[in-house]
Each structure stands twice: as structure tokens, then as C-alpha cells.
């Protein structure tokens, strides 16, 4: 019996466990899935928690519910991966698992301690993250009692999970304070190490224009050097300072510590991965999915979904001793909620910038790209149901995984 070991039961690990259990011969393969937590969070929902648009119970479910029967599911931390010896040691009972094929899906976490002063005095008092369940809930409590002042969002460094979420936070904050009737008492400042609102030039311009229209100030090229929580200021390496009453931080994102301990990561503990085949650069029987990789695509659920199609085909080739056939094109689709029950949709790949037009099908769409629309917003809300009921279970749905230029136009 051969062992297919999956480390991490988040979006990528769960989806792949479902796909692999359908494709690998159960007479020949045993699938083992390891994760330290029992709860699966619907991470796109974290954004809506602080504003009260989702309730906590909307966004979590037990992980076990999504694991197919026949897969051995182990709750444990991972102590060490030894890819040269094809083995992994778990923390629980020091269990050693020898594998034939390994899939790393250990994701990324925030590291506020990477920024000087971030976790001193103000942490979770008037400094919050919303990339964790606890952070989002704490911020919700703060916002309920907030009656005006300067709200500053800061992105510490790139890359981050879901690079559009900070923009959505600003758009939703504008909407939230307007609905509460105190928008005129709130200054909104968006500070980013990027030169504009987003990473790709055309959408950066468009999303930056939306910021301006909503009266949100963008402080670009702001590389944070420290937080002075005594004086409620953030400082940049080039000497700029921004005062805040509420600081919402997107701290440095790093891959799992076990990747560092095992000597398998880059400077941020992301695993060097072939961006086309999704196999580890170094080991023929090691695969990487989702936020754990260093591929130059967004760290986002849509990327996991599209890349899983490539990954399953290549893994099946490899276990049959064939050449790898499938190539991932970096396809990413992001919904950007802009408030007032509207959202924008962007669709891009390694080589192509977001274009306008209709998604996913030319002419009929129905979702307009790079434009605010109510229809897109309904699509975003419907996505929660799709995520729990279709995507995690690895059930194919009728969206083409390859990026397609059909139905799209270059923005002038």
C-alpha cells in the first residue's frame, strides 16, 4: 500500500483530498490528511465580521464534515518534514508517516511581531487585524463603540493573502460609517507599500479612482518601520508619520513555521514551487497548493480552485510514471465588494492584466468585469454557499479553469 500524505486541511488540502479520493485507486493508495485545528473558517467572511454583515456562526464549520470517507484524518501539529527521507514527524505521539507522495497545503499566517511596536500597548485595544477570526471579532467590538476619528489601514509588506481584501475593507468602512450617520466624523486613510491601490497597473488605477470618489486618502509607497502605540502613530522608513485613532493592520504574511524548521522555504517560509506544474522545485514527489507556494499568483481561494485542476492531472501523471501534462496559467478571479450592495469583479492570469468585458461567458456574462454592479454583489454573497457545498468538496462547477480572453476588452 502506498501513502499519499496531505499536510493542511484548509481550502487547498480539503479540496485536493476530495479530488484525490475520487481518482486514486483505493486498493493501491492510502490518503492521510493532517491538520492541527478542527474548525474550518470561510476566510472571505472575515472581512464582513467587523461590520456585522456576517455573524460568526455563518463562517465556520467542522473540518471533518468536508473530508471524504476513506481518508484518514489526523489532528496534530507537524514537527518536521524530511523530504530526502520521504517522511514526516507529527507532534502528537511523535508519529512518523512515511509517504510516497506529499502535498503541502500549510497556508500562510499573519506575523504582527515582524513590525516593531505592533504588539505593544495598543494591540487589540486600538490596533486590530481582521485576517484571523479573533482579530475580526475584536475589531467588531471596537467599531460598535467608535464614534469618529481617524481610521488608518496599513499593509506591512507584500505578498499578502487576498490582496483586494484591504481595498474592500476601506470601501465597506466608508459604507458602514455612512449608514451610521458619522461618515463626516471619520477620516479614512489607506497606507500601502505599493505605488497604488493594487498590484496590477490598470486595475490599480481603477480601484484607486473608486477610493478617491469615496473620499478615502491613499498613502502610497509607505513601507512601515514601526508603530508608536504610545503616540498612536505609524512611521515609514522614509520618515513619514501617520496618526491614527484606529489602526487596522495587515501584518507580514509568512508560510508555516514547519516549512522553515524543515529548511524547505524561502525568506518568508513559502515553498519554492514550479509555477506551471505546481510541483516542488526540488523534490519530484512533493506538490504544493495554495498560499503555501511561492508562485507569483494571488494567495486566494480562486487560485486554489483553478490550480487544483492542474495539480490533480499532474499528480495522476506522476503516480502513473508519465510526463507531467498540465500547466497552470496563474488564473485568478477576485470579487471586490465596494459597498452599497455593489461589487466589482476582476479576472487575470500570470501574463494578462484584468480586462473589462463579461465573465465567465462572452456576450451573456452575466457578470460585468472591472465595473461596480449589484449582480456581482449577489454573486459574491452566493459564493459562500458555493464554497461550502461545491468547492471544498472538489465538485467541478461550470467555470473554465483556464484564463480566457474571450468576451474581454482592453481598457483604454
Amino acid at each position: 500500500m502506498k501513502t499519499f500524505l496531505i499536510l493542511g486541511a484548509g481550502t487547498g488540502g480539503t479540496m485536493m483530498a476530495n479530488k484525490l479520493s475520487k481518482r486514486l485507486d483505493p486498493q493501491e493508495w492510502k490518503i492521510v490528511l493532517v491538520d492541527r485545528d478542527e474548525t474550518h473558517y470561510y476566510q472571505p467572511g472575515f472581512l464582513f465580521i467587523p461590520f456585522g454583515y456576517y455573524q460568526p456562526e455563518d463562517i465556520y464549520q467542522p473540518k471533518r464534515k468536508f473530508v471524504p470517507s476513506g481518508v484518514e484524518f489526523v489532528f496534530s501539529d507537524i514537527e518536521l518534514i524530511e523530504p530526502e527521507a520521504n517522511k514526516v514527524t507529527l507532534t502528537k505521539d511523535k508519529r512518523v508517516i512515511h509517504y510516497d507522495q506529499l502535498l503541502i497545503a500549510t497556508g500562510t499566517n499573519i506575523h504582527p511581531e515582524e513590525i516593531e511596536g505592533m504588539q505593544e500597548g495598543g494591540w487589540r485595544k486600538n490596533i486590530f487585524d481582521y485576517y484571523t477570526f479573533e482579530g475580526a471579532m475584536a475589531l467588531k467590538g471596537f467599531l460598535q463603540n467608535f464614534n469618529g476619528g481617524r481610521v488608518v489601514l496599513n499593509i506591512a509588506e507584500m505578498p499578502i493573502k487576498c490582496p483586494v481584501a484591504p481595498l474592500e475593507f476601506m470601501y465597506l468602512a466608508d459604507y458602514y460609517f455612512t449608514k451610521r450617520g458619522i461618515r463626516n466624523k471619520v477620516d479614512l486613510v489607506f497606507s500601502t507599500p505599493l505605488s497604488g491601490a493594487f498590484t496590477k497597473p490598470i486595475s490599480s488605477k481603477l480601484l484607486g479612482d473608486v477610493m478617491e470618489r469615496k473620499g478615502i486618502h491613499t498613502e502610497a509607497d509607505f513601507a512601515i518601520s514601526e508603530v508608536d502605540s504610545g503616540k498612536n502613530k505609524i512611521k515609514s522608513y522614509d520618515g513619514r508619520e501617520i496618526d491614527y485613532d484606529l489602526l487596522v493592520t495587515i501584518p507580514t504574511n509568512m508560510g508555516s513555521e514547519v516549512i522553515a524548521r524543515s529548511g524547505m522555504g524561502d525568506d518568508l517560509n513559502f515553498v519554492p514551487t514550479n509555477k506551471r506544474t505546481l510541483r516542488s522545485d526540488k523534490y519530484q514527489n512533493v506538490w504544493v497548493v495554495g498560499d503555501a507556494t511561492n508562485i507569483p499568483a494571488s494567495k486566494a481561494g480562486s487560485v486554489v480552485h483553478y490550480s487544483a485542476e492542474t495539480l490533480i492531472e499532474n499528480i495522476m501523471c506522476a503516480v502513473k510514471g508519465k510526463e507531467l501534462e498540465a500547466e497552470f496559467d496563474g488564473h485568478s478571479t477576485c470579487h471586490i465588494v465596494s459597498g452599497y450592495q455593489k461589487s466589482l469583479l476582476i479576472d487575470f492570469s500570470y501574463d494578462t492584466e484584468p480586462l473589462s468585458g463579461l465573465y465567465p461567458f462572452p456576450v451573456v456574462g452575466p457578470f460585468p468585469l472591472l465595473k461596480e454592479s449589484y449582480f456581482n454583489y449577489v454573486g459574491k454573497l452566493a459564493f459562500k454557499w458555493i464554497y461550502w457545498n461545491i468547492m471544498l468538496k472538489g465538485i467541478p462547477f461550470p467555470l473554465p479553469p483556464e484564463y480566457s480572453i474571450a468576451g474581454k476588452r482592453q481598457v483604454a
Binding site: E157, M158, P159, P163, P193, L194, S195, T199, D221, A223, S225, Y237, D238, D266, D267, L268, P296, A297, S298, K299
Partner: protein
């Protein structure tokens, strides 16, 4: 006649062929970008070139500060504005791809 006359640059001012880079070209690019090069700047440039030879791309700021004795604050004083981009430019490398 400048050493840059025969050097090809992309639209953003990065050298098209990093292999054509020389120390004289670095000095000339720095002058054009209004950056004064010191011994400390050369610690960064030499490291960036070494990383490029090994990995084929410009190192990230985090990688530079981890593997040299230059810290982030000093990087910003050596290459004001955007040290990642500016150091890559002076070192004759392509635009860093780190930000997605």
C-alpha cells in the same frame, strides 16, 4: 559620450540584458537616478548581483537584510524612495517581481 549610450533599457528604466552590466554602468545609472553610491551601496549591489547569478532574479529587501549587514533603515538611506526597485535598477537587474 556616456557608457549608457549602447545599453538597452526597458520602458521603466531597467536594463534589458542584465549580463551586459558593468560597474561603470552601475555608476552611470546611479548618476542618472540621482543616487550617490558609497561602499555600503556596493555591499548591496554586489549581493544583488551574486543572487542574480545564482537564482536569475533580483533579491527581495527581506532577503538582502537577512543575508548582509545592511538593515532596512540603511537600505532606505542608500536607495531613497524604493530601495527594492532602485537597487535592482543600479545592479542592472529586471524589475523585482515580488509584489502580487
Amino acid at each position: 559620450m556616456s557608457v549608457l549610450d549602447n545599453v538597452k533599457f526597458d520602458a521603466d528604466g531597467y536594463m534589458e540584458d542584465p549580463h551586459a552590466w558593468t560597474k561603470e554602468i552601475a555608476e552611470a545609472i546611479a548618476k542618472r537616478e540621482d543616487v550617490k553610491l558609497t561602499d555600503r551601496s556596493w555591499v548591496v549591489i554586489d549581493y544583488a548581483r551574486k543572487e542574480f547569478e545564482a537564482k536569475g532574479e533580483a533579491p527581495t529587501l527581506r532577503n538582502i537584510t537577512k543575508n548582509t549587514d545592511v538593515d532596512t533603515k540603511e537600505l532606505y538611506s542608500l536607495f531613497p524612495g524604493g530601495p527594492g526597485k532602485l537597487a535592482a535598477k543600479v545592479s542592472g537587474l529586471h524589475k523585482p517581481t515580488g509584489c502580487i
